[in-house]
């Protein structure tokens, strides 16, 4: 009897929380199910109604997210729920906002595209909503179990969406490659997770963070026997990082990206390149800043080295970010298919985004979030322009398709130019703000290696301008090669207009977004690392076997 009563009260607590904490996700799931039922009931030529229903669902979800945001900001504290399975903090809310905006714009882009492809079906929109549900749980999950299941929810729906054009060979191939490599990377991630669970005995990130300094000490007391578990800790960290690198398409694990981006329906490429990437980064940040903060390790010249004698993830991420930026930008130079080119560009942007995590200070985290936010808008815009070029008989994904666009569709050309300049990081646009913050974060640390990384990033940014300018050259200078006029649909125009307005607005007046992301970056539990204050300790802590320093308290 006591057990039953105990369970009953637990259930009531959960029920009360469920109404508040997971309302945005619950709304999305309900709308996705409604979309599926509606899809069966609608006749074939009216399927696009489903898209509007799904947009309404995203709107409702946004409203409830707003309520949730005011709820937590009025309490000035994050709320955990479901037995510490999820946390609703500013970090989660900002990322959720990002996913919802990304999904809404993607749906707007999709309506016309699917009509052109003759694949207007309701499941498409339902799958997008399901995948956004997964992303939102990824942003707020603080338990490895929740994180992994939500990651799979997101990933599997995207695999299906990539292969949605069943009659297109390239789409099938892309889906197959993406699925196989994605499943493999999930396996790698899971291996890392299982090692962490084995080492710490918990799947809760906060508890893992608390347990790791003990487990990773040189003589950890394992069931009465002294044991050195540090290398196992390191291995699990590397495996988890590898799994996440796959998901964000960072360089040694980027091979799937160009093929998947090229073969997928363009609207899904847009969705993948922004929302999926942002969600993966959200989970990346959660895993590493919230779950494994003490494994950051030290770069040369850093004071705080928490596992003595071992390199940490800062080094790993730094190297990966550097090669990602270099490789992504160089490979993009020689591409002729615009979707492939943007795939490489998106790989290099993943490298830039990683810089924010590496910086490890508040500016860095702000940059990390703000960059993803801006990237969502500008990349969706670019893909929207490519979708606009898709018309009967023209794939629209060759560089030549842009030839002489300015004479056919001047407004579209202007918008495309703005998005491209923003991707390149040219001043009056939003992209500049994002990159500025990233570099500032790195330079603020004062670490010579990180400053060198920032210099490399600036150089690579300059290289990237070359291929963005190629588009501009094609649009403005090349003669028209294709007389067929464009057919812009109203939803597509709306999406592009919204994206371009936001990009310009953030570029000119970024303060509101910066304030929002700064709040997110100072969320509870996201550990920040301080550099300059204790330079004297540098040499002593680098020695193997030295006593680990107490973790630096997070800055509030």
């Amino acid at each position: 009897m006591p057990a039953l009563l105990q369970a009953a009260t637990d259930f009531q607590t959960i029920a009360r929380q469920a109404g508040q904490l997971i309302m945005p996700e619950a709304i999305l799931t309900l709308f996705a199910c409604a979309a599926l039922i509606l899809d069966v009931m609608l006749p074939r030529n009216r399927k696009r109604v489903v898209a509007w229903v799904c947009l309404a669902g995203i709107g409702a979800s946004l409203v409830s997210l707003g309520i949730l945001y005011f709820n937590i900001s009025s309490r000035e504290a994050a709320r955990t729920g479901f037995f510490d399975m999820i946390i609703i903090d500013n970090y989660a809310v900002v990322f959720k906002l990002m996913f919802l905006i990304g999904a809404a714009l993607s749906i707007l882009l999709s309506i016309k595209y699917l009509d052109t492809e003759g694949e207007q079906r309701g499941e498409y929109y339902a799958l997008i909503l399901f995948s956004v549900t997964g992303m939102m749980f990824m942003a707020s999950g603080v338990d490895l179990l929740t994180l992994f299941i939500s990651l799979e929810l997101m990933a599997i729906s995207v695999y299906i969406l990539v292969g949605f054009l069943k009659r297109d060979q390239r789409s099938n191939e892309a889906a197959m490659k993406y699925f196989l490599l994605g499943a493999f990377s999930s396996g790698v991630l899971l291996y890392g997770i299982s090692l962490v669970y084995g080492l710490t005995g918990t799947t809760n990130l906060a508890k893992i963070a608390a347990a790791l300094p003990t487990v990773a000490s040189a003589n950890y007391n394992l069931l009465g026997t002294p044991a050195d578990m540090r290398y196992l800790v390191l291995l699990s960290m590397i495996l988890m990082a590898a799994g996440m690198f796959f998901k964000v398409a960072a360089v040694p694990f980027h091979m799937w990206a160009p093929d998947a981006y090229e073969g997928a329906p363009t609207s899904i490429t847009a969705f993948m390149s922004v929302a999926v990437k942002a969600a993966s980064f959200a989970m990346f940040g959660r895993l590493f800043l919230y779950g494994l903060p003490d494994l950051r390790g030290a770069l040369e010249g850093d004071p705080a080295n928490n596992i003595a004698g071992l390199p940490g993830w800062a080094l790993l991420l730094g190297i990966v970010a550097a090669i990602t930026m270099v490789w992504g930008n160089l490979a993009a130079l020689i591409q002729n298919n615009t979707k492939r080119l943007l795939a490489y560009s998106s790989i290099s942007h993943a490298g830039f985004t990683l810089l924010g995590l590496i910086a490890g200070n508040q500016t860095g985290y702000t940059a990390f979030i703000i960059y993803l936010f801006i990237y969502t808008l500008m990349n969706l815009g670019v893909f929207g322009c490519i979708i606009a070029l898709r018309r009967r008989g023209i794939a629209g994904d060759r560089m030549e398709d842009f030839n002489g666009l300015v004479r056919k569709a001047p407004w579209l050309t202007v918008m495309m130019t703005i998005f491209l300049l923003s991707l390149g990081g040219i001043p009056p646009t939003a992209g500049f703000v994002g990159k500025l913050y990233l570099f500032m974060g790195l330079i603020e640390t004062g670490n010579p290696w990180l400053v060198r990384l920032a210099i490399l990033a600036v150089l690579m940014s300059a290289v990237s301008l070359y291929y963005y300018i190629r588009f501009i050259r094609a649009m403005y200078i090349e003669p028209e090669s294709e007389p067929q006029p464009l057919s812009l649909s109203r939803p597509l125009q709306t999406a592009l207009a919204v994206a371009v307005l936001l990009v310009m607005l953030i570029g000119v007046y970024p303060q509101p977004l910066i304030r929002l992301t700064q709040k997110a970056a100072t969320s509870q539990g996201l550990k920040t690392y301080v550099y300059e204050e204790k330079p004297a300790a540098t040499d002593s802590t680098d020695q193997p076997g030295a006593v680990p320093l107490p973790p630096t308290p997070p800055r509030r």
Binding site: M1, L5, V40
Partner: protein, 448 residues
Amino acid sequence: MSAILTKLLLVTPDWVRSLTGERQPNVFWAEYVVWPLIQIVIVLFVILTLVAYLVYLERKVSAFMQARLGPMRVGPWGLLQPAADGLKLLLKEDIIPLKADKTVFVIAPIISVVAALVVLSVIPWGAAWATIANVNIGLLFVLAVSSVSVLGLVLAGWSSNSKYSLLGALRSSAQMVSYEIAMGLSIIGALMFARTLSMSGIVEAQQSDGIWYAFFQPAGFLLYMISALGETNRAPFDLPEAESELVAGYHTEYSGFRWALFFMAEYAAMIVTASVAVTLFLGGWSFPGLSLIQDRTIFVLVSIVVFAAKVFALIYAYMWFRWTWPRYRYDQLMELGWKWMIPAGLANIVLTGVWYVLALPESAGGLFGFMQAAPGQIDGRLVPTTAGKLYFVVTGFIISIPIMWVLLATINRRSRDFNLQEQRQLQMQLRRERLEKSASAQEADGTP
């Protein structure tokens, strides 16, 4: 309950312990080895005899329904016919087809019959010692093992290397896998009331609630009975062995005693599904007025008789169905399984859950307070009051069933759209329209 059981076990097999020849009675061997073995032998003997006589019964019932006499020659009223049949099957030549996969061919009937017979161990044949094993996952065990029995059929069909067998096996596996889901869903409503998976526990729960769960769960009972027909491949769902199409289905190539094993498995499965239905929905071995019997032994014996009578009533219904309903077509069978039974099962779970939660007392989050604590219940199970019983019967019969009917009718309203032929025709029509439209558009382009 367990005290009585222990006492009975220790009293009854006294001679068993004397056999071990120890002065200290070896309780472990007596209780856990010898006594269960005796029970198993008795149950197997009874059930196998029963299976033989079920065949006889089937022939008699079919004969009477067709105004014939049925077997009359061997013994009085043909009562020795099963023995003669058994002997005949034993003496027949055992043929293994030349191209058959011999190992699998031999294993398949064994899997079938073992899966059917193992389940008998958890069925509460009667009160107290008449239950062989009171496992706390009894019902789940039944479902688990009966899900294995599909394998016997599939392997038999595959290993025979004959197209009739293979087709029969494919049909049967698809059918059994589909109807297993509906079966699993249909029992959950009753489990919500019983709050245990132990078969004896379910019977006891019905005793203390003072009602058979068929009254609380009319929809669940109906679903269970239909899916049980599907599970056991009985008419009108006997597609796997449709004589007119497949000779004899998956056991076409079997002869002699191996064939008899399949037959045995089929009839044993019938007994099992009927027993589960009786346990779950018809109060098991309990019957109003049964507790008036004072003598324990007679009580147990009468309880066995009551159980058997209920099982036989259901088996008679099976036979009745067989001779009154025509066989389903394959797509109809699948449509019934997936579009009607499974949604109905899910709806039944949801509705029962809602009724149950509403009936809870307010302290437990309910509304009406039709449930109250009662002494001797496991894990604080609540028992419905008289008003509660009435409420559950009313909701079960008058509210749930119409709601489910409307729901199913709604979701299957456009069911025709999924029909492959219709779908193809619809698309042809759409294509024709599209072609016409583009043709007219071209004309418009050509003549401005």
